[in-house]
Amino acid sequence: MTPTFVITAAVAIIATTLVITGRNAVHALLYLVVSLLAVAVIFLMLGAPFAAALEVIIYAGAIMVVFLFVVMMVESAPVPGPDQTLKDARLWVGPGLLAAVLLVELVVMMAMGVPGVAGGEAVAPQAVGIRLMGPYLLAVELASMLLLAGLVGAWHLGRPAERTVPRPHAPAPAVKRETGP
């Protein structure tokens, strides 16, 4: 049992707790990014560097940015103005401290070596790629079809309402009826 793993797991759990108890969506997103980065560090410790890189690039990078776009679109008063953001330390000191802990752990692991799993060994990205393009080729194709379905579905749901074709026997504007409960 290594102290670095315990600290990383504690960072992940603390950040996730702050995500699900948060009131401001932007702050919760910052803590969610920290939680994903902590899980990426755990992947690195477990001997899965490819999964760690994908976690940072796709989860903490792409998916969280999409979340941030939507938060900016739907929140009425999400963040203060650009001049107050850095002065108000409450906005960034919590996620910043947790991320700094992760950075220190990365430096320590670079100096002293990655712990690894008891009884196991590190899995290189080459082995993952060979498995992915060999026995899991059908799963990869299904995943691509799932992503295509997600793309088409998001396009369909994100169309502006006035472009929808009106019903032939309902000439009344169907858009107005849907506003407000």
Partner: protein
């Protein structure tokens, strides 16, 4: 440097999954529900990678990749639905979306 027992990684995954499930059940804002779903999917990926690392096989990371793809598709559809709800109903409170109640 000593090694990590695989149990502890699985305990961490279980704790993260429980936290995400709590968020899905407790929060009413659809945005936080989607974030908690992400936490749950991430915990499942952590369990897969921990299992694959324990046995030294690449299959755990392959399954993590598939979970990642699923999470990306789920986020695209979920956030598009959330935007549609926000546009038509004007709220993100899940308890107020009760028009389908019979």
């Amino acid at each position: 440097m000593t090694t990590i027992p695989a149990d502890h990684a699985l305990y961490t995954a279980a704790a993260l999954f429980a936290l995400g499930l709590t968020g899905v059940l407790v929060r009413r804002s659809l945005l936080f529900v989607l974030m908690s779903l992400e936490v749950m999917l991430n915990a499942v990926g952590l369990a897969f990678v921990a299992g694959g690392a324990r046995w030294g096989q690449a299959d755990g990371q392959v399954m993590f990749l598939l979970v990642l793809t699923l999470a990306a598709a789920e986020v695209a559809i979920g956030l598009a639905l959330l935007l549609a709800v926000h546009l038509r109903v004007g709220t993100l409170d899940g308890d107020r979306l009760s028009r389908l109640r019979g």
